[in-house]
């Protein structure tokens, strides 16, 4: 069963080339290794 409005909300705007720089800076590149590191070093030491 398709609900038109719900389906429409699932569509997100695409990133334009002018906004690529912001998109790259805003992108979250945290992975599980960073999470484990944070757990091991609560003081906030990051991976080199």
């Amino acid at each position: 069963m398709i609900n038109y409005d719900e389906e429409l909300q699932r569509f997100t705007p695409s990133v334009e080339i002018d906004d690529a720089e912001d998109a790259i800076f805003r992108s979250d590149t945290t992975d599980l290794s960073d999470v484990i590191e944070k757990l091991n070093n609560p003081k906030g030491a990051t991976r080199q």
Partner: protein, 412 residues
């Protein structure tokens, strides 16, 4: 893999760092999981399951963000799905993570090499965002027009295909939607959204006795979905044979009525017109006959007149000047005599003896001239003129008596 504490590169599977002795078993495990996910993503990308590949590769990067191969492949998958900017973002991040010996740089240069194509891709992205805003604001027609332009610029833009097919489904243009969704599945065989839409269309079309959902019923209110499957699908009625037969019977009755009622009237009308025309023709004929007879009588009259004139002409031909040339010659001599003797004489003057002699001689000749053969009035008139004028001046006693020879000369 680098040691998180001292940064030493660790080759192979190790539990501890050789330099600082830090426990790296967890990191090693995460790396292996990331690689496994990357392999799965790669397999999916090879069979064109782009959605599945993107999902695996994103998970691979969640386990190890430094997996350059996974990031580069994710960028490639995004590019194939029409998301060119997202692809470039992944390649830029990949390049920043590892600057040397990285495929990402080559891929970025390939995309930017064709500036026209690159411009089209960017334009397609902008138009898609505009179309999405229009659709959300209820301007579905304008959104559809924009999306068609997007597809023309970037024929791999899966999101544009999906949004346009959704709008077609809303307008119950199922065939068009199906066509677009098939194109999506060609590009991305594992696209769940496309498969879901196609299944929905099949369910909607296969529902027996269904009618087309009323588009006006679709609204933003919370309530039953317009695509709940309970709506009837419109189907055309089968042709009713009885109505067809009734139609033909009606036509036959109409033909009979026309034949019975209208045709006799039309026929009598034609007969009346024919009789009138016949009478008119008869009148014309009789008048023509009368005219012919009058013309014939006139012809006979003219013929008689012509005969009369012909006879007169024959008679006139006898008075041809050729027949009374001697008279004309005599008259010519008369004129010469007159111009010589009579005409120069002025009033009151006497005629000379010589002139009298000439006049008398001519008078004698005139008397000797035999006019019997010349019946022409004109010849007689000339003779009378000569006789009259010469007789005025001639002396009869001095005129010579006519002899047999002179009478013959006159005849000649």
């Amino acid at each position: 893999m680098k040691c998180p504490k001292c940064g030493t590169y660790i080759v192979g599977r190790r539990r501890r760092c050789e330099s600082c002795g830090a426990d790296i078993s967890a990191l090693d495990r995460l790396r292996r999981i990331s690689n496994r996910l990357y392999n799965e993503g790669l397999e999916m990308a090879r069979v064109r399951d782009l959605t599945g590949a993107a999902d695996r590769l994103k998970k691979s990067l969640e386990f190890n963000k430094e997996n350059i191969d996974a990031r580069n492949l994710l960028g490639l998958v995004y590019y194939e799905m029409g998301e060119s900017t997202a692809a470039i973002c992944q390649w830029v991040i990949s390049q920043n993570t590892k600057e040397e010996d990285n495929e990402a740089e080559r891929l970025i240069n390939l995309v930017r090499a064709d500036s026209t194509e690159f411009g089209n891709l960017n334009s397609a992205t902008k138009k898609f965002n505009i179309a999405l805003d229009l659709a959300r604001n209820g301007n579905e027609d304008m959104a559809m027009i924009q999306l068609k332009k997007v597809i023309a610029l970037n024929d791999h833009y899966i999101k544009a295909y999906l949004l346009l097919s959704l709008l077609y489904i809303k307008n119950c243009e199922y065939e068009r939607a199906k066509k677009l969704l098939k194109k999506v599945l060609k590009i991305d065989v594992g696209n769940i959204t496309a498969r879901r839409y196609i299944n929905e269309i099949r369910l909607t079309l296969d529902t027996p006795g269904g009618v087309k959902p009323n588009p006006d019923s679709i609204s933003d209110d919370v309530g039953p979905s317009p695509f709940s499957g309970k709506e009837k699908i419109y189907t055309e009625d089968k042709p009713n044979i009885l109505s067809l037969v009734t139609f033909f019977i009606g036509i036959a009755i109409g033909i009979v009525v026309v034949y019975v009622l209208a045709v006799p009237n039309i026929r009598s009308d034609y007969e009346t017109k024919y009789a009138e025309r016949e009478r008119q023709i008869g009148a014309d004929v009789s008048s023509t006959n009368a005219e012919i007879s009058s013309l014939q009588s006139r012809i006979s009259i003219l013929q008689d007149k012509n005969a009369d004139l012909q006879s007169q002409l024959l008679l006139a031909d006898r008075n041809d000047p050729v027949d009374y040339i001697p008279v004309l010659q005599l008259y010519s001599d008369f004129l010469a005599l007159c111009s010589e003797t009579i005409d120069p004489i002025k009033e009151g003057d006497l005629i000379g003896a010589e002139d009298i002699e000439k006049i008398n001689a001519f008078y004698t000749r005139l008397l000797d001239f035999d006019m019997t053969p010349y019946e022409s009035e004109y010849a007689k008139e000339l003779y009378a003129i000569m006789a009259d004028k010469i007789g005025t001046y001639a002396v009869p006693e001095q005129a010579e008596k006519p002899s047999d020879d002179t009478a013959k000369e006159g005849q000649e």
